[in-house]
Subunit: 391 residues, 2 copies
């Protein structure tokens, strides 16, 4: 059934940006304040403390101006030992990006080698291969892994990988950009050295902030090495300011105020309840997709986003346009990378942040309706029925 | 006279962040949209075109996620020729920062020398010294200058400097962070190769966006050199996306929407009217300060910000606290750098962006009142009287 409000009501179920609660938007619309004031410092301190609780760490969590990529690159360039090897683990577009970043810094960091471990897209990182590489090359100074690879909707076993890396001198940098606030992450409990995330995913803010949690070993490494050439991205600068409850460069004041409210909402709901809501939605959608006859894109699905392959004969552009224009439902398509070309071949729906069963059912109805319209043989109502049975 | 609203009404006259119009805050509070959509592309295209008109250029103006420092650093690292000299001109904290940035990249860019030309704080850059350095060292690949040095409230003669640099193969990168939208800037007319600015000054947005205008010679240089190691800050990446009306990494959607409205407001007022308003306010404040017996900090004052030395016996912290707590007026103190230590010794008031004669008079009354309260001998009413006579 198609009804319309005065304009078609829009529902964003893309894996970033995600929906932003009205409470957060309202806070961002308050008159701007200066960042060198008591008022801002109190807000910044609260954001830092809430981030620590959401990352499950007692260690500093830095707030960096930029995207999640900015924050991850800052960690990469600030923590690699000059003249060492780095180990970059990928099975999707974002893991590949972190491989590219170290290639860009190969000269300024005097890297001996950027050891790449690539698994097929849709598979999680292989802990045994990481362990072997660390044995073969004791001079690996940094390992990068992706906790939730957004491009392939795949989760990695970060707890196990952290246990392996922890036995060596290497620093583990975890891409938690679509993990923190969505999947269970225990930064201190698992011994994760560096946990990077961004504002525009499960943390319910518009894009513009990146976050870097720094474990004790990472803080120590920062003191030992000189960052490979960057100025703005040199984390020593950010850590020094953070200790004074400050930032080195004019920060996005309004976004930080919004982040305070979004984090408060997460903590009021309860972080574990948020994790549970996310996993429940993901479980329901996976079951619904299977019932529709869709093949998941991941053998190790993340709960923050679910991806499915298009059946034969479904055109990505026409399908997602119909979802958007007829139903107001926004989902993501596929991405291309070195390991695979998934543009036009898959679609992805997010379970992160300010999204609930109602939004998700709306998306499932729209997806089912348009798959049937495109010729798929499936009984109308299947997706929602199976979703309800599974959640 | 002290009156109060339910809480003291706050007026921000700091040189960044500056006040943000309610129309812009409202736009930023709209529900978030995805950046890979026609709707966002239309907004982004409008922002790019308006930026071109405000920078007075037909060339690309890139929108970068980050602070003004992020954008300037990106230009520095992307445009220097490996194995060359760079010339960095400073007379204040921000000019010194661009000197530090090239020091950080000395190795990755294989810089032969970072030639620093420093004038005393409060003086504008010396075009003759720049001309001489370019003659002495034909391998200088980049020159950095500051158009409006915020720390010293000083303007540089960018038109003349651009004419000098233009005769050589060096690329001129201009720090227009507190110039664009405040002072007359003619990027194409003056032959400025690279013009960098930020959102949180005269462009009336909260912090979080930096902008880089790229002249033809700069675009050509980008094609010739490899950026010295950075990934996110490699302008080639941003330019390539810009040509497709896109960005390489998830952008701060809400800030960009707000920037569209702020730029629309500037163009509706008329850019030249904005320049005139800014210079009128600056002229009035300089006259009022002189009438109060205050010494300006600059021999070449910028119209975007005015700075004055504290008279003997005025305590910076007590003075600015009184302005803030009794009058709701926020102005800036001094900054420390290599060339001077101005913390506690000066104060600065902004004329940029969403600020008018009413705000400025309110600040002048507060400043005069608190100077008298601190023991200065001056007739009450002087500042506003002289301001009115001068504007």
């Amino acid at each position: 059934m198609a009804t319309t409000t005065h304009a078609l009501k829009q529902r964003l179920l893309t894996p970033g940006p995600t929906q932003v609660p009205p409470e957060v938007l309202r806070e961002m619309a308050l008159p701007i304040i200066h960042h060198r004031t008591k008022q801002f410092r109190a807000i910044f301190a609260e954001v830092s403390e809430r981030l620590q609780r959401v990352c499950r760490t007692a260690q500093p969590v830095l707030t960096i101006t930029g995207s999640g990529t900015t924050a991850f690159e800052a960690a990469q360039v600030s923590l690699a030992k000059p003249g060492s090897r780095v180990l970059t683990v990928a099975g999707g577009k974002f893991g590949e990006r972190w491989q590219d970043v170290y290639d860009a810094y190969a000269k300024s960091l005097d890297l001996v080698e950027n050891i790449r471990i690539n698994v097929p897209w849709g598979e999680g990182p292989d802990p045994a291969a990481i362990e072997q590489a660390l044995k073969d090359h004791p001079d690996i100074s940094v390992v990068t892994v992706v906790h939730s690879e957004t491009s392939t909707a795949t989760a990695g076993d970060v707890q196990r990988i952290a246990g392996i890396v922890r036995k060596t001198d290497a620093i583990l940098i975890v891409d938690g950009i679509t993990a923190v606030g969505a999947l269970p992450v225990e930064m201190d409990g698992w011994g994760v050295d560096v946990l990077v995330t961004g504002s525009q995913k499960a943390l319910m803010l518009p894009p513009g902030l990146g976050f870097v949690g720094l474990g004790e070993r990472a803080v120590q490494r920062l003191e030992e090495v000189t960052a490979g050439g960057c100025y703005n991205l040199d984390l020593r600068r950010w850590l020094k300011s953070w200790k004074r409850n400050d930032v080195p460069f004019t920060p996005p004041v309004n976004l930080i105020r919004g982040q305070r409210v979004a984090l408060e909402m997460i903590e009021n709901e309860g972080l574990k309840n948020v994790w549970k809501r996310t996993s429940t939605l993901a479980r329901g959608v996976r079951a619904a997709f299977k019932a529709l006859g869709l093949k998941l894109i991941s053998t190790s699905p993340s709960d923050s986003v679910t991806g499915a392959c298009y059946p034969q004969g479904i055109d990505d552009s026409a399908f997602r346009s119909a979802l958007r224009d007829k139903h107001g439902i926004h989902i993501a398509g596929g991405q291309d990378g070195r390991g695979a070309s998934w543009k036009g071949r898959i679609f992805r729906i997010s379970h992160m942040g300010y999204v609930d069963a109602e939004d998700t059912r709306a998306a499932l109805v729209a997806i089912e309706t348009e798959l049937i319209a495109a010729g798929m043989k499936v009984e109308a109502g299947t997706a929602v029925r199976v979703f309800e049975q599974s959640v």
